[in-house]
Amino acid sequence: MNIVVCVKQIPDPASPGALDASTHALKRDGKLILDESDAYGVEMALQLVASAGSGEVYVVSMAPNGETSGMRTALAMGAARGLLVSDPALAGSDALTTAKVLAAAVTKLGGADLIIAGTESSDGYTGTVPEQIAECLGLPSVTFAKKVKIDGQVLKVDRQSETGYDEVECSLPAVISVTAGVVEPRYPSFKGIMDAKKKPLDVVTAGDLAVTPTGWAAAGQKIVNVTQAEARKAGTVIEDDGEAFGKIVAFLENLKLI
């Protein structure tokens, strides 16, 4: 059972992000960290491989400047090897190019029984990359997976829906996207951190994977303008006249939160 996890490396959400004034793209020149959305995928992969009893977890990523910090976190958690695609020619790549690159990276690693991605990344959140990877590789895809089991050659997924979840089955190999919070990602252990630096982590270019065209040239889209989000409206104040709880319940029901 070999699993490849797509891990996006993003600027630390704790420090304020900045946009490039000319391209309107997110600046990614500093240190990048493992997107928390993908830590769930790594954890799920490690658990699935452990319960299968054999196999490895690999991670693939596309990021500028040869950045591997976030991938090293995944290796420290227990992934066995990594493949990074980093290439100045990829600057400005849209989600489809990203998917093509990641699909090629998976193929370069020799394919996998299962490919796991996050439902959406924390910084770009188009939520489209996983299905596009599936299409590029000609594989079935299941999105919004909240529980995953492998039964021989059958993948069984509880797929989050608005009202509950659907039980879905599909054949392997496949691509799934997992929702946040499905598993509790482990902390890298001290031993894991020490071992991570000995694990193979290869860096290739888009050219090495024969993906063309890339970057702004390939993007079927252009960021024309970026404007401030609308300021948050003042909240509603409920005076407690002894019946306030009813109004709060109604408010939450209205938002479909309860």
């Binding site: 902390y187 252990s189 951190i193």
Partner: protein, 534 residues
């Protein structure tokens, strides 16, 4: 500031350190000639602290070369150290045998870097840590663990005087926090480089930033016992105990202090007497220990006892025993052994450092097998040395704990200052508040960088003097930093509902335990200064 000026400032800083060092050297020779640390306690104490500040400053020079903010923090630290030295010296020149004009050469440098405007400009520039990739990951991991697992409990445990939540212990064990300095062949993660002591420092700072009582201090006891076992344990003992310490299957507490003997460890009275039980060799322990932290929850006591009945042998009559015990209730415990051995623990209520609880323990005829004495027969009479070896590690670890508490205090004060208005302005805009925050940034980074330097030395099997220096300097600094952080909070700082009040009472213990400040300065640091300055 241009880089040329920065480079020149660093040269001036190095010169100021050299001058300060020569002042201390001279005064130490006077100390030696006028009766030594036991006679001239105040002089010896001042020299110990001055020396700790000088060594901290020295360890910062490399850091200062890494960039402009780093250089400014370094120079401000050096200027602070010179001011401290001179104020200790003034009016006591004869006692020191030093002419204070020696420091005049550094006057312009000190003026530049004690300028309140310069300090104020550092309020929001705590400086990067400059860790390598692995250590950055260690920091990120422990920060994330501490934020999710420890911080949410910190206030509650403190205010209700509750116990350390078990999931913190098991979580830390999973990450490997208890095996950082345990060699790989004994179930730990140490590969013998200098990286492990660094990692332990970094982890401890992050855990203590969330809580001293239920975070960073959990590592201290296993570290002390580990070091003693690595130093004096037989092969069989290392194989028996180290893997269990690494996995937290065995949690330890340290039973050294007695009601009548705290700093004066060599005089302790608790005895371990060779006694057979059911035909097996062993020791029967009798005596009273106090301040034994974590003694209810722990599975073993690392107990220092007199194995030689000849009290004239003082520290050469002591041995360290590993004393297994059941887990007990936090509010007090009483255990018995089938043959009649007894152990009774009474908790001591404290103003801070809550969660692990400290106990006075009365021990009567408590029996342990002979192989529980560290080093077995070869370890008889060597307990004091093994214990001190362990405490060295404990001192570095305690310095790292202090850095974590200071960091938390600085962050709390900084945030508060940005959001509290007085006379129409955020207090964070007033010079005096900014200068306080700036000095905090300087002191914390200095403390941190020195603890890293000591960690690297300890990884090489050196650094015993430096571990005492870093403990003395950093723990005292933590009192000032938490005091000022509380002050910046005004009245709210005195309210229990603000975390800074906890940081203030927690910081207070740091100069008392792991070597009371005065004793550490007089009996360890000043003595060593006299020995090494001829």
């Amino acid at each position: 500031m241009s880089t040329d000026i920065v480079a020149k400032d660093l040269v001036d800083a190095a010169r100021a350190i050299e001058l300060a060092d020569s002042v201390i050297g001279k005064a130490v020779r006077t100390l030696a000639a006028t009766g030594g640390p036991d006679e001239q306690q105040v002089l010896a104490y001042d020299l110990a602290h001055a020396s700790a500040a000088v060594e901290t400053a020295r360890s910062m020079l490399d850091y200062g070369a890494k960039g402009e903010v780093e250089a400014t923090l370094t120079c401000a630290f050096v200027a602070d150290m010179v001011q401290d030295l001179v104020s200790r010296l003034i009016g006591r020149e004869k006692l020191w045998g030093v002419d204070p004009s020696v420091m005049a050469e550094s006057h312009d440098f000190v003026s530049k870097f004690r300028d309140p405007r310069l300090l104020a400009s550092l309020a929001d520039k705590p400086g990067p840590r400059h860790l390598d990739d692995d250590h950055e990951m260690v920091q990120a991991t422990f920060r994330s663990f501490a934020t999710k697992m420890i911080a949410p409990h910190a206030e509650h445990v403190h205010r209700e005087n509750l116990d350390v939540p078990e999931e913190i212990i098991s979580g830390l064990a999973e990450i490997g926090a208890f095996g950082l300095t345990i060699p790989g062949e004994y179930g730990g993660f140490s590969e013998g480089g200098d990286g492990e002591y660094m990692a332990s420092c970094i982890a401890t700072e992050e855990l203590s930033r969330a809580s001293l009582g239920i975070g960073g201090s959990l590592i201290t006891r296993p570290e002390i016992l580990t070091r003693a076992l690595v130093k004096g344990g037989t092969e069989a003992q290392k194989h028996e105990w180290l893997p269990k310490l690494a996995s937290a299957e065995v949690m330890a507490s340290v039973a050294v202090t007695e009601p009548d003997y705290g700093s004066d460890v060599a005089s302790i009275k608790t005895t371990a007497t060779p006694t057979q039980l059911d035909g097996k060799d062993g020791y029967a322990i009798n005596g009273v220990k106090t301040w034994c932290t974590f003694a209810a929850r722990s599975n073993v006591l690392m107990l220092l006892a007199r194995t030689d009945p000849d009290r004239a042998k003082t520290h050469r009559g002591l041995s360290v025993l590993i004393v297994p015990k059941p887990r007990g209730e936090a509010h007090g415990f009483m255990f018995t052994q089938p043959h009649g051995g007894r152990m009774e623990g009474r908790p001591i209520d404290t103003i801070g450092y809550r969660g692990m609880h400290s106990y006075e323990i009365a021990i009567e005829n408590w029996w342990v097998p002979a192989d529980h004495l560290i080093g077995e027969t070869a370890g008889l009479g060597k307990g004091f040395y093994y214990q001190m070896e362990g405490f060295e590690n404990g001192r570095l670890q305690t310095a790292a704990r202090a850095v974590g508490v200071m960091q938390a205090a600085y962050e709390a004060a900084f945030d508060y200052a940005q959001n509290r208005k007085s006379f129409g302005k955020n207090i964070g805009e007033y010079q005096i508040i900014r200068a306080k925050l700036g000095r905090m940034a300087v002191v914390i980074q200095g403390a941190r960088q020195f603890s890293y330097a000591v960690a690297k030395l300890m990884g090489k099997g050196q650094g015993s003097m430096e571990a005492s220096l870093v403990k003395a300097y950093v723990c005292k600094a933590a009192e000032w930093v938490t005091r000022e952080a509380m002050q910046i909070h005004g009245g709210y700082g005195y309210a229990e509902e603000y975390a800074v009040s906890r940081l203030f009472v927690d910081a207070r213990v740091l100069s008392i335990f792991e070597g009371a400040d005065e004793t550490l300065c007089l009996k360890v640091i000043a003595r060593r200064l006299v020995e090494t300055t001829r």
